[in-house]
Subunit: 458 residues, 2 copies
């Protein structure tokens, strides 16, 4: 296909944007395992979840059957401010790599949160507002989710309390300041503002924090303040549901130009971007309508899929959250502080875990120095300075395109470019100064943290 | 018009993007005054300019007659990576302000340089490459131009040396790091790497620098290194020519939906964004085909149009550059260090100066605290965190929309949202902490610097 046939960027028209989210669970034969009450070992009921999560979001969390869930108009209007995101044909990268492969990426970074996180943030804030709540609490790692939630809350006039993983809080003062611009309060985690935070600080005085700790703190605050609920930026079924807007748009744009990807690649921390990107494609695959190779890319320093265990585990370090069945490194696992950015979660979405377990997708892990090399090469030819998280997918897409150069295969590759690296320049600076290295957990470290998995195994 | 009639964002199709830049000078009865040789007082010839500037750019600089200049294909391909930029209907801002006005903005921030500057950077780098040069030198204030040029040079494999105004270098370490990611070398100005820098440091030891100083240094380096030329991100005729892509796209998008703006607003530092945005509209106005109210907005701390003099002046503090006829505060004028971001240039584009002098446009100045108030309000409803520079235009557009609320007038307002504020969070932080204030030059200060205008007055 010539350059004139496929534009550099495909934008859907406003009336082509999705009107409903796609709930992949409806088409899974093996449904993701339910969340369990850690006390009883029984599946959590809506009544048990509603003190923590908004009512409508609980309904979405538990709904394994409805394939399409309408996107409320107010959310669709908000989406129109920064969506559709472009599906980009990476002509310049293809040329640079001298590959016959055709590379596409769905770019979610063209909004102030700098990532795809805004897609679920506005949905969760909307349902909190509908329920008449005062505000929401959450955790943030790299800061993208916290920024996204701050923006959504500012728009809807909701209070927003963010627990930010300490290492990111210190490395990313500007992320913090953006959240404040949008009116959020931001606390470095672990902190002494919660019981669980004080416990973690007592046990690990020098800790730089983890998403698991921050989740525990945010949940505690939501549970103990009337008019507040907890919201989460990844992992949960509801989040993957909202993020399906990425894949639905990508597929609509590809269908418009008769493009069929052979391979779909996404980075995976908790799984929200990957789950959203692949949703409609995976749906076809599950129904036998089409086949795609689907690849999750995770950091070698936090390799849940590739070195974790498929088991029930706590979602948080403080062990106050429900148990989810997922690929996990153990809720005690904290990746090296040297690891830049997000993708630091010890577990993985239950939906993706089940699909991976059932053989519907592959997973690979990559080291961060090679990820930054790919990121810099990408920036120089495609213009966009990518987030370290997104660059995990770039790395694997580039490797695949190089293989195609060798084999002559004209593979069509689609990857998710989840966000921009404008707030990750401390990490880029380390990379430029040769101060970045890889710290990969040993088998013993992983075994030690897996040894502490809860006894309840569903 | 209903929301369904006009989408939130209008994107042109790739084949609707401009194929030629529009040279406004061709339709001006009173042409902008020529650049003068400060030694002889005579108009500079191409032969005199070519040791400093690329040959093809000199031709564009001096061309007052050709209305449309073809955009080379390689530049159009680069444009396709980040353009067309969206023309956004500010539905949420309108709702917030309860105004009957219809507000549109042309958003140039969706690229890693974070601003419109990339439009001219790629053009200038392209012509330098075509001429077989090794590299280019330049200055940067807020860092947007330097980032844009670094990106363009990385793409074309050209060396790039950037002199960055010291106050920005210190306030914006991340901007510096982005430039390094794209392979540029970045020096704080004034520096001891040039003769003129050493002189300025000797005269003003504590200076935080100015665009004027940085220009002098970059020009000196280009003139004394074979294979290098100097490039400039604003002020020059050639830059306004390249930036006409903004206005051409905006007009094409408006024409597509039968929208006619009543008022067009842009921030003005050296004039490149404003000159580009208004180009095709001003062309119609000059030919009597349509009428528009056109407003330049400048900072009260650097008010070239509103308090300067229309006269020949040096473009740089070191007085080594040609003389340009323009509204100027005197080449010695250095705005308060407290003033955030760009728009710090003492002069103004000769084209815009002539048009303002001839009554084709208006100018107002605004204070920075009220600009940041408008910026924050805008961010909270429209989602985008705006650059301080762009927020000058936001402030005036919002004021006008509020007036419409009072009068009931359904005015259509178009303003230029030139970029994002992701690298301006030190300034936002100051604003939030109440540490930002306005420092407006006294009449005596301006008179003192105007007293040093060169004797040659064309």
């Amino acid at each position: 296909m010539s350059k004139t046939a496929i534009p550099y960027k495909i934008y859907l028209e406003e009336n082509e944007m999705p009107k409903a989210w796609y709930n992949l669970r409806a088409d899974m034969k093996n449904k993701p395992a339910p969340l369990l009450n850690p006390g009883t070992g029984q599946p959590l009921t809506a009544a048990e979840l509603e003190p923590i999560f908004c009512k409508e979001l609980v309904a979405q969390e538990l709904d394994n059957d409805t394939a399409f869930i309408e996107i409320p108009e107010k959310i669709r209007d908000f989406y129109k401010m920064y969506r559709p995101s472009p599906l980009v044909r990476a002509y310049c990268l293809e040329e640079k790599l001298k590959t016959p492969a055709k590379i596409y990426y769905k770019f979610e970074g063209n909004n102030t949160s700098g990532s795809h996180k805004l897609n679920s943030a506005i949905a969760q804030a909307f349902y909190a507002k509908e329920q008449g709540l005062k505000g929401v609490t959450t955790e943030t790692g790299a800061g993208q989710w916290g920024t996204a939630l701050s923006m959504a809350c500012a728009y809807l006039d909701l209070d927003c309390k963010v627990y930010m993983v300490k290492v990111s809080y210190e490395q990313k003062p500007f992320r913090r300041e953006v959240m404040r611009t949008y009116g959020a309060s931001v606390v470095p985690s672990p902190s002494d503002t919660t019981q669980v935070g004080r416990q973690i600080l007592a046990q690990h005085p020098g800790t730089t924090g983890s998403l698991g700790c921050a989740i525990s703190e945010a949940v505690e605050v939501a549970a103990s303040n009337p008019g507040y609920r907890y919201v989460l930026g990844s992992v949960l079924n509801q989040v993957l549901l909202h993020q399906s807007v990425i894949g639905l748009e990508a597929k609509a744009a590809m269908d418009k130009y008769n493009i069929k990807p052979d391979m779909i690649i996404g980075c995976a921390g908790g799984g929200s971007n990957l789950g959203g990107l692949i949703a409609p494609f995976m749906g076809q695959k599950l129904k036998g309508e089409a086949d795609y190779q689907i690849v999750a890319v995770e950091p070698a320093s936090c390799p849940s899929f590739t070195r974790g265990k498929f088991a029930y585990d706590f979602c948080d370090t403080g062990r106050i959250c429900p148990l989810a069945k997922m690929y996990t490194l153990g809720s005690d696992f904290i990746p090296s502080a040297n690891h830049a950015g997000g993708l630091r979660f010890h577990g993985m979405s239950s939906i993706l875990s089940q699909l991976y377990h059932d053989g519907y997708m592959d997973a690979v892990s990559v080291e961060q120095t090679e990820v930054f090399e790919a990121a810099e090469q990408f920036a120089r030819v495609e213009g966009i300075l990518p987030a370290p998280e997104s660059s995990h997918a770039i790395k694997v897409a580039m490797d695949e395109a190089i293989k195609c150069r060798e084999t002559g295969e004209e593979k069509t590759i689609l990857f998710g470019l989840t966000g921009t690296g404008y707030f990750d320049l401390v990490a880029y600076e380390k990379f430029h100064n040769g101060e970045m290295f890889d710290e990969i957990p040993t088998d013993e470290q992983i075994a030690a943290s897996l040894a502490k998995l809860p006894d309840i195994q569903g």
